[in-house]
């Protein structure tokens, strides 16, 4: 598996995408912190959308809001945030492919992110079937809470792993 990511990094290294990303990061004044802020605002949109839906499913937040309505109103924010974060994150990944693709913490991030997206999409599709889809039986109520807890954990760990990419040596070469 690691070999796949290394091959990908080698393919990016020295190419036009890398040149473009490096040019933007080095030449546009303030570009790195600005694009990182876009990335964190994307995370804020994830917190305000799918994480709030998960907290609602767990019965912890927004008691006056209905899940069906929340899903139709908030989930587009998640899809746009994911797009924005793929682009903003892409600048850094294409500029320094080995820093990410040859880094176990980045792979951990993907290992949290991809299931988080898949689970959120699945829960979203099910939530749109009917207003009471998650509350009809006791089994469904339990399932919805477990799915929400797992989704919440995956999103939090994605953000956590993302921040630790820069600190891989703390984890893999402890003092």
């Amino acid at each position: 598996m690691d070999a796949v990511f290394l091959t990908l990094a080698e393919a990016i290294d020295g190419g036009a995408l890398q040149a473009g990303a490096l040019w933007a990061l080095r030449s546009i004044p303030g570009f790195p912190p600005i694009i990182q802020t876009v990335h964190i605002l994307g995370i804020a949109a994830i917190m305000g959308s799918v994480v709030m839906i998960n907290l609602r499913m767990l019965g912890l937040a927004l008691p006056s809001q209905q899940l069906f309505e929340m899903n139709t109103r908030l989930m587009p924010w998640l899809w746009w945030a994911l797009l924005a974060n793929a682009v903003s994150g892409g600048f850094f990944l294409f500029a320094r492919p080995f820093r990410y693709l040859d880094n176990p913490v980045f792979l951990w991030k993907l290992a949290f992110l991809l299931p988080a997206i898949a689970l959120s999409f699945l829960v979203y599709r099910i939530s749109l079937r009917s207003e009471d889809i998650w509350s009809r039986t006791a089994a469904r109520r339990i399932t919805s809470k477990l799915a929400a807890l797992l989704s919440l954990g995956l999103w939090i760990m994605t953000a956590m792993a993302g921040r630790w990419i820069a600190y891989a040596e703390y984890l893999y070469y402890p003092a």
Partner: protein, 166 residues
């Protein structure tokens, strides 16, 4: 006066607290930093919902009072966590942070965001009650919502910029 205060030996003393050394030299720093980012994102994600409602852009089916009652506790909780983790990081490099322009901007914008919030809940409280269910609130409420949105984006940008200057 301010210049002297910012360059006082006091800030170096803070950096030399045993706690500062413990955080700065261990995995505690990245741990606090990642919690700080998650709390900050939750704070902005939650408060943006209220700001967009004030602007009449989103969640207009809900009364302002309902949204405020159900979302503001999350905003305050996230703010507390971000403050504690932020202080934990601050003490490791207090002397350089207080003279860092990005950090100074961050504190300034945070203060403005706080003033804007006070203004909304004190000076505009009558308006807030009158327009509770209006899908397009009064201009002054919309402006307060826009100010909050922009100020919090500014706090994030300045906060992220801190690490590029130190």
């Amino acid at each position: 006066m301010l210049e002297e205060l910012l360059k006082a030996p006091f800030w170096i003393d803070i950096e030399n607290w045993p706690l500062s050394w413990e955080i700065g030299g261990t995995s505690w720093f990245p741990f606090l930093e990642s919690i700080h980012v998650i709390a900050a994102a939750l704070l902005v994600g939650a408060i943006a919902t209220i700001d967009l409602r004030l602007l009449g852009v989103g969640a207009v089916r809900y009364p302002l009072s309902t949204l405020g009652r159900e979302i503001l506790p999350w905003v305050w909780g996230a703010f507390m966590v971000a403050t504690i983790t932020g202080l934990g990081m601050f003490i490791t490099r207090a002397a350089s942070h207080v003279v860092n322009p990005a950090f100074q901007w961050k504190i300034f914008l945070l203060a403005l965001a706080g003033i804007n919030m006070l203004h909304l809940h004190r000076s505009l409280s009558t308006l807030l009650q009158a327009d509770d269910t209006r899908s397009k609130p009064h201009l002054r409420l919309r402006l307060a919502g826009l100010a909050s949105l922009l100020l919090w984006c500014g706090v994030m940008l300045a906060g992220r910029w801190v690490g590029h200057i130190v």
